[in-house]
Amino acid sequence: MAVEPDLKIELGKQGVFVTTLNELYNWGRRNSVWPMQFGLACCAIEMIATTMARYDLARFGAEVFRPSPRQADLMIISGTVTKKMAPQVVRLYNQMAEPRYVIAMGACAISGGPFKQGYNVLKGIDRYIPVDVHIPGCPPRPEALIHAFMTLQKKIEAQPLTGEARPRHLNAEAQGEFPVPVPSAHDLNPPVNRLVWPLPAPNPGESA
């Protein structure tokens, strides 16, 4: 559906700007992704560094960190998610308005990291909410977060506005609310959200 690049350049020389609605819409969306001001652990320090003058996330249109989930488009899970914190993370995600995106930043957020064998750490936030970009690292450097952000921009740019692959905010059937796990005797209940976590959970019988 896109306009042919050569034709576009040729028309541009003549002072004619040609685009598609899809391209224009996604151009606007990808350059104004506002992250939520929300840090969980040491990765948050790198996230803060990314926004400061040296790395300057503002170059990508993401300088406005909103302190309210209602005004944010992007949740950066920056750090270890403990089983005590996981319900609050899912609740904050539920409170964000569509379109919303998630970057899981660092080893802990994507898998539990060095604390994976612990009794109190969630083994990856993708067990409860859909994650768009995972970045490894302990903690990832600001460059890595910028790379994740650019990857997310490419992902937004490539989203068609119609059809099966359209983003969730254009799909009335899409799930908006994700179940918030509740603390129970030894783990969170349920231990995973089956809708976003396709792999088998370890020892499903022992949870609850």
């Binding site: 089983k83 005590k84 064998q117 109190n120 509740v182 603390p183 005797a185 020892n203 022992e206 949870s207």
Partner: protein, 165 residues
Amino acid sequence: MSATLHGKDAVLAEMGQHPAISAVMEKMPDALTDARWDREELTLTIAPEKLVPVAGVIRQAGYNFLEDVTAVDWFPAQEPRFQVSYHLLSHARKERIRLRVMLAASKPEVETITDVWPSANYYEREVFDLFGVHFAGHPNLRRILMPDEWTGHPLRKDYPVEGYR
């Protein structure tokens, strides 16, 4: 002074003039059940039922600041199983000592020292949360780190190392 002194008698023989030891031996000599001087650290083992008065005596002797309360689970090597440690600092002497009480597995309970050092409040809650040691008379003995719904005490040696997944 020797590098290590094991046992109450050896410590009393060489360090009898130490302000904390002399204060305890003067006011309540039967409360001190064991002592050890090792790696420049003095550890006094106190009979659990006499902990609070001994803490008061040692505070009077100049050890004014409670730095830390923590615990060790010696399961299955030892009985009494639980050791609760109190680290004290004297600002005037610039010196630390450690008090410890040994508690049986059947009844891991000791009286709270929040009446002597109010700052012990959160430390004792933490020890209760993670080791299941009860502090009798504590003003607010609830879990502090784990969720309220949690069962079990994760730092006990018989708790599964990886939790219940």
